[in-house]
Every structure is written in C-alpha cells, then in structure tokens.
Amino acid sequence: MKPILARTSSHLLLILLSIVSLYPLWFVVQTALKTNSAFTLNPTGLPSAPTLSNLSLLMAQMPFVRWTVNSTLVTFIAVGAATILSVFAAYAVVFGKFFGRRAFFSMNIGLMAIPPVALVVPLFTVMVQLRLINTLPSVMLIYTGLLIPFSVFFLGNFFRQLPRELIEAATVDGASHGRILMRIVMPLPLPTVFTLVIVNAIWVWNELLYALVFLQNNSARTLMAGLALSQGRFATNEPLIMTGVLLSILPMVVLYLASQRFFIRGMTAGIGK
C-alpha cells in the first residue's frame, strides 16, 4: 500500500513538473500563431484562426535574417577555432612531457569559473584599439578565448581515458605527435567532439552581454542581442516578439530532440568527472 502511494504521488509531482516546464514554451508557440488583435482578445486560449502572418511581419520589421546569419557565422567560427585550439592543447597536456602541464590543466578549471563580465571593460578597449567594434570578428575572437578553458578541461578528461600504451607504442615506432593526433587520437572521440561542439555552440548562440556591448549597429547584431533590444520597440506586439523567440529557440529544440544524450552529457560535464 505504502509504496503505491509513494509511487503515485511522485508520479503526480513529475507530471506537474513537466507541465510547469513546458507551458511557457507552449505559450510561445500558441502566441506566435495569433495576430496581435487575436492575442489581445484571447491571450491564454488556443489560437482560433492560426496564422503565419507574424513571420512576414517579423522579416519586414527587423533585420531578422541578418541577425540569424550573424549568429550562425559567429557560432561556427568561434566554436570551430576554440575546438581546434583546445584539441591541440588538451593533447599536449595529457600526452606531452613538459613542466607545468598539470598547472596548465588546473588553470583551465579555474578560468571556467571566472565571470566573463569581469573582463568586458578591458576587452572593449582592446577592440577599440583594433578597430573591431561593430564587426563580427570582435565577438568571434573573444568567444573563442572564453570557450577554451571548458574545452581543454572536457577534452583533457577524455584523452586521459585513452590507453597510454597506444600512444607510447606509436611514439616508439617513430610517429610524430602530429601524426599520432591525427591518426590515433582524433578518430576515436568523434561523439566526444560532437558533445563539446554542441555545448559550446549553445553558449555562443545564447550569449548576450558581449553581443550587446561589442555590436552596436542594428544590422551587426546577433540574434539574441537583436531580440533583446526589440523588446522595447515592439512591446505592444507580443505575437511578433514571440515569433522571434520561437525561431531563435527552434534550432536548439530540434537539435536537442535529435541528440539529447549529447546535450545532457556535455552540459553536465563540468560537475562530473
């Protein structure tokens, strides 16, 4: 009797939790399908006449496509650069033999916890001197740097699990470190690299502070900065903003549904091993 009661109540709790977790997302979807006047009349209910008219309105009112392209470019370049740099660094830390490699690895763990906001003022002055303000390379460079500590930590932990004998045998056979990295180490952890790329891509896609500060022209913005600043201008048109929100989260939701395992493993990596 008792276990059944406990089981039912914990099940009810979980169902309630699921509703609380999903309702705001459902609100986004149903609001995006309403016209502004329909929303004013009926904010909570289902759309009586679902419409896609907000889509064209969004394209007309904001440089939405441009923002999306900017975000995509920034994400690809920063994540790509950070991943490549970190693969080499993590390889060196785990398989190299030089003084200070342990310290370098520990330093990366410490840097993971440094709040990016503490670095924003000096980095801004650097970017002013480099004349990169309002250009995408400014945030690409900074995001690359900010992603490295977690990436080195994540890959380093993975490389540590590879059999050392394999690497040492290859070294004895006269293979260079470059060859070992390409032939033996790299082919192994593709799911690992994929996990890392996803976590980093989410971080870049979602970042707001640096995007706001470094990209001040409306057309130079990333999607998140553009949307955040549209809030005030289009405050009275909730369906329009919710359409923007829906489009900005759609890639994440689709990717998540397709490869949930990788998301969960990657995004909880900082706490596990």
Partner: protein
C-alpha cells in the same frame, strides 16, 4: 598548445590585469587620472552598488530552494525508474534554451496584465496577483524564480545520474534490515551523493553572483529605478552607458573577489572528488 596559451593570455590574463589597473583610475581610457582607492570609496557610498550587491545575495537564497527541489525530483525520478528518461528530458529542456528567449517569454507571462495575473483573476485569486516585474518588492524574487525554472533541470539530471551510481547492494541490504523507503533515501541515498550536491550548490552560487545579467537585462532592465540591479548590470551600466570605466572596473574587482570565495571552495571540492575517483 602555444596558440591556446596565447588565446587565454589575451582573453583572461591581460584583461584581468587591466581591470585591476583601471580600477585605480578615473576619467576616460585615453586620459586616465590616477585616484588611488577613490573608485572603491565611491562604490561604498553608492546606494545603487550596495543595492546591487544585496540583490546578488538575495538571489543566492534561490540556491537552497533549487537544491531541495532538485533533490526531491531526482529521488522521485529514481523511484519511478521506467519513465525516468522522459521526465529527465522534459525538465532539462529549459536549461538548453537561450536565457534571452526565456526572459522575453516570462516578461509577457509575468507583466502586470500578463498571463499569470490574468489566470489568477479568472480563478478569483486576484489577491495573489502582483506586478511581478514592475515592483521593487517583487522584481528580484521573480527573477530568482525564473532562474530556478530554467536551471532546475540541470540539478535534476546531475543528481539523478549520481543516484544511479549508488551501489544497489547498499540499498538492498538496508531494505532487508527493514529500513523504510524514506529512511533509505535519507540515510543512504542522500549521503552517498553529498559531494555532487555540494558541487551543484557551488556552481549555482557562482551563477547567482556572476551570471544573471541576461535575466536582469531582459526581464526588468534593472528597474524600477535600479531596484533590481545586480553587480553585473552595474558594471555594464557604468562601463558602457555612463562612461565610468574606472568605477565599472572597481566593481568588477569586487565581483571577482566575492565570486572567488565560491570559486575556491568549488575548486577544492573538485580536486577532492577527483582524488576520490582515483
């Protein structure tokens, strides 16, 4: 490895030194004037800064709430077992999504005439309706609640994974000895995952102190009248809206100081659990 070291020096090393140096100067970057600890004194006397620090501390109280919720939910999922994966996937979804998008959505759900208040009035619970984001009293607790909504799933997933690693023999042995379900959870399961719980608490504490800018910017713009400002917003506001670079840098140093207490505890916990894992 060298390129990564250079990138880290440029992104972390140089700015950390510069921010400490700027914090002793007033005026613009081009013509800085050395004023010693003047910026720190100004922070101490600026009610907005003091208020921002207090708001960060208030947000810290969301951490124990979130932790207790996450433990409870993880235990429930752990007991249910079969549909576990589904609930885990659902509750983790918000954590994946952009805080900006989440904030925009909740700013409509929680506005004065928003969905939450509409529903409360419809259910004749109008007395419970508040101007969640527009009142100085409610803004910070509401921001805390939105953060909990988004980040709870992280805790649930981490703790469920930890619960799975508890040796089954331990639980069985206790059951044979006649321990009830609640006692097993309290005396065996929770102590077994204690270290992971603490790591989660530290990560979330660091978050509440130093990674809530997006929520504040989108939900309240630190309003009304800076009543929901946090340290990060203060740095942004002074550094980029008021041109008070020195003051912003001093605030960044204070933020680093406060956060580093938690960072050090986090690092110690980490290295200890690494040793335990061998």
């Amino acid at each position: 490895m060298l390129p990564a070291v250079i990138a880290l020096a440029a992104t972390f090393g140089y700015p950390l030194i510069e921010v400490a140096r700027f914090s002793f100067y007033a005026g613009s970057i081009q013509q800085p004037v050395y004023i010693g600890t003047g910026n720190y004194l100004e922070l101490w006397h600026d009610p907005v800064f003091i208020h921002s620090v207090l708001n960060n501390l208030k947000l810290l109280t969301a951490v124990p709430i979130m932790t207790v919720l996450a433990i409870g939910i993880a235990l429930a999922i752990n007991a249910g077992y079969r549909r576990m994966k589904v609930y885990q996937a659902i509750v983790f979804l918000p954590y994946v999504l952009p805080a900006t998008a989440i904030g925009l959505t909740f700013s409509y759900l929680l506005s004065q005439s928003g969905i939450v208040n509409t529903v409360l009035h419809d259910w004749h619970l109008g007395g419970l309706a508040h101007d969640w984001l527009g009142s100085a009293h409610w803004a910070i607790p509401t921001i805390g609640a939105v953060i909990i909504w988004q980040q709870l799933g992280f805790g649930v997933v981490v703790l469920t994974a930890a619960l799975l690693s508890v040796p089954q023999e331990l639980v069985e042995a206790a059951r044979i000895d006649g321990a009830s379900g609640w006692r097993i959870q309290w005396y065996i399961l929770i102590p077994h995952i204690r270290r992971i719980i603490w790591l989660f608490v530290m990560i979330e504490a660091i978050t509440m102190l130093s990674a809530v800018f997006t929520y504040v910017f989108v939900l309240t713009q630190a309003g009304p009248a800076y009543s929901s400002s946090v340290m990060e917003y203060y740095i942004y506001q002074n550094g980029f809206q008021e041109g008070a670079v020195g003051l912003a840098s001093a605030a960044a140093v204070v933020l680093l100081g406060v956060a580093s207490v938690f960072i050090v505890v986090y690092l110690r916990l980490r290295s200890r659990s690494e040793q335990a894992a061998g």
